[in-house]
């Protein structure tokens, strides 16, 4: 029936096709290098603006330049957690294999960004507040986020059956979501040493335009990097989990 064929091919590009690890694997491989390239370009542009265009801060001097990595990393640490919990939840609800793989692929990158946010925060806190660390609500809840990532990864690593590991990790990830609004609103809810946000959706940012531009370019750089890293990691996970399938064997045989 040629008419039915035509309709199949043109009218409905089936996105659900890419819910299958086998179909998603080459797609991820095709788009990851683009995100990596975007990330590299944006990092260079963002750092150029941050170091050579943005002026010295009137109060803090040069140490404020840590903002160009600290704020993007802190945002990514929360965004990646939300994405991870989202995929984990989808996997739990619809029992789709790729969703669990996506959640697992996001966790290490999220943990790295959390570490960078904490590390750069300590190095910024020392010259600004006179201390590397303080147990205020913002810093403590961000540290808890790091432990949630570690807990998620350790739990998954401890369970041999990947499908059961996905489910157990998903429950942990979803329970831990409560920590994200706590981090975000901690500077409003509690009296923290950490300052409130300089950027909000409701009002103009309380910083110089070039500082804001540099920071946002770095935010997009971090987004692009995180997407590339997660896609590359999900490809590894797909290979590891589908190692015994014909298509993976054929794919790997073709390569070596």
């Amino acid at each position: 029936m040629p008419s039915a064929n035509l309709q199949n091919e043109s009218a409905s590009f089936n996105w659900f096709k890419y819910a299958s690890p086998q179909a998603f694997f080459p797609l991820a491989g095709a788009i990851a290098p683009w995100f990596a390239a975007f990330a590299a370009v944006l990092f260079v542009v963002g750092l150029y603006i941050g170091f050579f265009v943005a002026p010295t801060d009137a109060q803090q001097g040069e140490s404020y330049r840590i903002i160009f990595i600290h704020v993007p990393a802190a945002w990514m640490s929360m965004v990646i957690y939300l994405a991870m919990a989202f995929w984990a939840g989808i996997g739990l609800a619809f029992n789709t294999r790729l969703s669990g793989m996506m959640a697992s692929a996001l966790a290490p990158t999220g943990a790295w960004f959390t570490f960078i946010a904490l590390w750069t925060g300590a190095l910024w806190g020392r010259p600004t507040w006179g201390t590397w660390w303080v147990w205020d609500a913002r810093l403590t809840s961000e540290l808890l986020l790091l432990f949630l990532y570690f807990g998620f990864m350790a739990l998954q690593a401890a369970i041999d059956d990947p499908r059961r590991a996905d489910k157990a990790g998903a429950v942990l990830a979803l329970v831990g979501v409560i920590n994200i609004p706590i981090i975000y609103f901690s500077v409003q809810w509690w009296n923290t040493l950490h300052q409130g946000s300089s950027v909000s959706l409701k009002s103009a940012p309380t910083m110089a335009a070039t500082m804001f531009t540099g920071m946002m370019v770095m935010v997009f750089a971090c987004w692009a990097y995180a997407i590339a890293a997660a896609l590359w990691r999900v490809r590894c996970i797909i290979l590891e989990r589908e190692l015994r399938t014909d298509w993976v064997r054929a794919y790997l045989g073709k390569q070596t």
């Binding site: 943005a54 010295t56 840590i66 990393a73 570490f115 590390w119 750069t120 020392r126 590359w232 290979l239």
Partner: protein
């Protein structure tokens, strides 16, 4: 342009340790993550 010389740039107004410590560790982390991904990918290929 903010900096009169390379020395001024690296000194970061006396805050060089904090600024470069932040960016240095960030790029080290990125390099480590990419290396770990490459190793993991290669290990998956060898196990088949």
């Amino acid at each position: 342009m903010n900096w009169g010389s390379m020395i001024e740039f690296f000194a970061m107004g006396g805050k060089g340790l904090y600024v470069w410590g932040s960016y240095g560790v960030t790029f080290a982390v990125i390099a480590i993550e990419i290396a770990m991904l490459a190793l993991r990918r290669r290990a998956a290929g060898h196990r088949a």
